[in-house]
Symmetry: D2
Subunit: 355 residues, 4 copies
């Protein structure tokens, strides 16, 4: 038996299943290597953690607090726990990650709040439906109390809420006094796509807490909660510790985020991923057998492929989701690490199999 360590990764880059198949940006790797030498104060009292906060204040153009956690699920669930009582409801899109893909983490962290699923195109919450939901049975002890609205930016289908849409939702949320959470698992992609500022897209539209995604866009294991309503910071800190989310060697998470925020790496990575999705979309558009479904606004492309193309791609080692929606519908996700060559190879393969 060999005692050498194992390599997890493949040299081929044929995974278009999710941006989490990618590795980490070189700048982030370097920062982690540097953090490994010497000693540092534990539990987030180190200087890099402070620097991450400083950078986020700058990016969001105001004082914010920051909690660094290890997963997006933790970022979302902790945020929601601080924004709803156990007898509250979380209004979210029926296709949202918190509703479908977190194994009830929001219910666990909130001590049993109820997720109320709403509709809307492209996984965006419909404003009219929300307007009814925020007042539904409010104050009635027989029902859970509408407490927080959670939007995903960019959405689970890769669509992006426009600034106007966010402002509208924000006012629907705030008028009756609810709280506003944004799951920003792909927040960088949305900022890159919209051209609006991070401030405009969040707290200026009423967002109280933002799950600031980083892992899908270049870090290894670090995510952040950006706290706009700083009255929540102490509560979040206790909840994070209690949830096993306060790392003892916190500098290793902080170093990732520090590099991620330096020299706009987060935006450069997202801009690149969006461009790769656009390149893919443009290529697919030119193939008559392919139906594009919606327009890729960030780094996700949905299309319909003939079944034999799907089968052929899979047999060549391509990895992507294809059995979750209607037959023939395929989701392809680009990432910061996707190269133009990766896209062109995929387009070639599709062309070959449709020929």
């Amino acid at each position: 038996m060999s005692n050498s360590t194992t390599t997890a990764t493949t040299t081929a880059t044929r995974m278009f299943s999710s941006d989490n198949a990618a590795g980490a940006s070189p700048e982030i790797v370097d920062a982690v290597v540097r953090a490994a030498a010497g000693q540092a104060s534990p539990y987030g009292s180190d200087t890099v953690t402070a620097e991450v906060r400083r950078r986020l204040c700058e990016i969001f153009e105001r004082d914010v607090d920051v909690l660094i956690v290890s997963t997006g699920t933790a970022a979302n669930a902790l945020s929601l726990a601080a924004l709803t009582p156990p007898w509250g409801s979380v209004l979210c899109h029926r296709d949202s990650h918190i509703n479908n893909d977190e194994c009830g983490a929001p219910e666990f962290y909130t001590a049993g709040a109820k997720l109320v699923p709403l509709g809307g195109d492209d996984a965006k919450i419909d404003a009219a439906e929300l307007r009814a939901a925020v007042r539904n049975k409010a104050g009635d002890v027989h029902s859970v109390e509408p407490s927080v609205v959670s939007v995903t930016q960019a959405t689970e289908t890769g669509a992006v809420y426009t600034l106007d849409e966010l402002r509208t939702l924000g006012s629907v949320v705030k008028e009756p006094g609810l709280r506003f959470h944004m799951d920003g698992a792909r927040f960088a992609g949305a900022v890159a796509a919209l051209g609006a500022t991070p401030a405009e897209l969040t707290w200026r539209a009423g967002v109280d807490l933002l799950s600031f995604g980083a892992t899908k866009n270049g870090t290894m294991t670090a995510e952040a909660i950006v706290v706009f309503d700083r009255s929540l910071t102490a509560e979040l800190s206790f909840r994070a510790k209690r949830a096993g989310q306060l790392a003892s060697k916190a500098r290793f998470h902080a170093a990732q985020l520090d590099a991620y925020l330096t020299d706009d790496l987060w935006l450069r990575n997202a801009t690149h991923a969006n461009a790769m999705a656009a390149r893919l979309q443009d290529g697919l558009k030119a193939i008559p057998e392919v139906d594009l479904l919606g327009a890729a606004e960030a780094n996700i492309v949905f299309c319909r492929l003939p079944q034999q193309v799907i089968d052929s791609l899979l047999s060549e080692g391509y990895v992507f989701y294809h059995d979750r929606w209607e037959p023939g519908v395929v989701r392809l996700v680009a990432s910061f690490a996707t190269s133009p060559q990766d896209i062109d190879d995929l387009l070639d393969a599709v062309r070959r199999h449709t020929a």
Copy 2:
């Protein structure tokens, strides 16, 4: 404003406050760097995660399952949640980390089980007290039900349960049908100190789940639950996801553990840390003004220092706990990264200030 990333660490290595002030072993850093290139399957379906499991099976001489998590608090709290119902009690030492230092994480993860603190020297549970506690009000619906016993190996004071002690406790736990958890935050140090095998010190003594500590001993942000009772694996997997402990780029945690377990790095690191504590202890023994308190069995030394020595060390930049017990009592912790020179410098400083 500079845009260069910040360095968290100090060049001086004067932190003896905890082993979590150290960085990471070079082998582990290398493994993380390698994991950053290319693509890998997410959520633990990668090849390195499988390799970690294979290595732990080998080390523990039997089939085990493994859950990789990001903190020791999560490892402990998840384990306890799988071993007690919400109406159960967790019998533990009153000085244990789970009782004092995790902000109620066990209560959170277990949905409200009760920690029942027991006494015993050196933070080791007294067997006679345990014998009474495991049957206390068992079956009485007015009381919480004795359900799981948790021991820390090595203990919070750096003491080590002997193999005989563990076997005794194990039989006290198992005879009335309770479950047995080991918080192995410093498990490597205990193995290194005792010479017994990992198997003897755990499942052969009745342990059902082990929090296999790694961060204090050389990794960055990775810990593992070693599952001896594999009927618990599915439950633990759901609980881990729900707790935000299933990393999307899980290979980055797995790579740390893979390197940690390769070529006995985990034992070499612990043996070194223990040797550094012994070197410190031997040096302090020769200084008349210093009272050693107990014998360092792993990597922690307790002693009593004159107040002016404490003050002088602090003013030189040394960092250690000194105000938590009686006046003058000091805790000094060595780690895998502590050098003989670091120890000798500290001893020189103590000598200087007592002169």
Copy 3:
């Protein structure tokens, strides 16, 4: 200020809003009066509690265990907590009481399980929808695990699952290993309507736990969980105590149920309530301005009334729900205490206002 005690009740019996507006059956009042004299063992160790269990064993033609609780919400939530892990899902009708009217009690008692709402006519779960739901993402840690199905008998709209329907659902539930709960808030009404035996309608169709409703049908403050899967009894007992549902003077609840089960009072009351609803339905049918909506199978009548009739009835002191569905839709509920005269008075009033 008068020191005499206050009377809660009205002499007019114009509340058709719910069967919980009624008082208690005279036999039950007598039993409570008798229970008030002398001493009894507390916490359910009294002889009447044992007698209630004996009567339920007889009624259900097998050994059952019984937990007596103070509300239907507690009966439902406790039952569900024993049938699903926190990471499980509860499949139920979207109009069910547990989903809409218990302020998240199931989520609280289960430590955060997720209610998954299903469709179906007359608030009955559609078997085809259920068939898909019981296997949806089973075993996938990213999703909650389908764990328990809860049906309401009679349903929230007063419809009754036939024996065949229950058997079909039962086999859909049990084939993949899920658990089966019945919210029997109006179970007596269903038994009275169907003519099938209590055994056939519950455990013979696969039901594991039954919330055996009593308060709506003649008791004051007592409900029961009938435990067919007796391996759950110990867990339920601890959960009940912990939930504040173990009454110290438990005999006062038990006495209500004992009288309720004696000489078929529970069935006689339900038969009467159903007959009163039928009388009301027959009367309304003859009034051209009234549209009956569905057929009353138990004690609930839905109909559409002209708005001026609704207004006039309300102004005469009649109480009923009318603003929860489409405009003009009205729900009228009869109870064990409704007299033929009460029904005839109501019919007269409707006729007068439509004239």
Copy 4:
């Protein structure tokens, strides 16, 4: 098989195990009988529930809100849940009911807060110990946060906090901003013993929420939370519903409390119970073989009896606790229903067996 209902109670009144062995006061029985006739609004919107609140405002000389629940465990656990966050600690006496006898109900309702047991004579919290505990690790995220102090009045051993003692504790609680809960399971007995007003003994000493015990002192199944900090009322209402503590036919609980509070029945009952305990104590004092342990301040007498006396009393059908403390120590509890003859019979029996 007979179909007649069963009688729970015994004619002999030899249960001195707890005041919950007693039945209900005749005035309370009458009120329940009256409540059973006619219709009433459900869920506490009836007129008697309003009247209970009015009476409690009068008794406590200020505006209070009231939640009526079915058990003392629910009253305590709900109150604590409103006064501590999940990451908080509940400081209480180590012998308190909430710590030992509620199967973790406080942990369940609070979503995992931690009970921190303190010492003190006669089950009263020692003020000096409390003074240290209220600041212990406050603000430290590694530890639970001191949040609420709970005292039992009268205590589990029948002792009574004096007005001065309560004022002292109240200031210790309030100075650093903690909340103050009183478990008044035997509150009436304390008021009767002390002569101080209900207001002085509660909110004027800083109490935020009072579990106002009634069942041990004459009601059947009704307890109340008296809410002095009315900003907590909405939260308590949601929590109560969600816990299954909002009765649909709430008038049946309210009627009990209404009668209990009318014409000082609650104080008359308690005064009588205390007098019976005093009569018992005086009688025992005259028997040389009996050692009285402490002075009965309310309705509980502790004494030491020769083992053969204990055995003989048990064989005659007397019921009391005797195996929970040191050998020979016996607890005897009088109630509102204990007659002078009951006491004299018991004294005769003790004399006979010691002769």
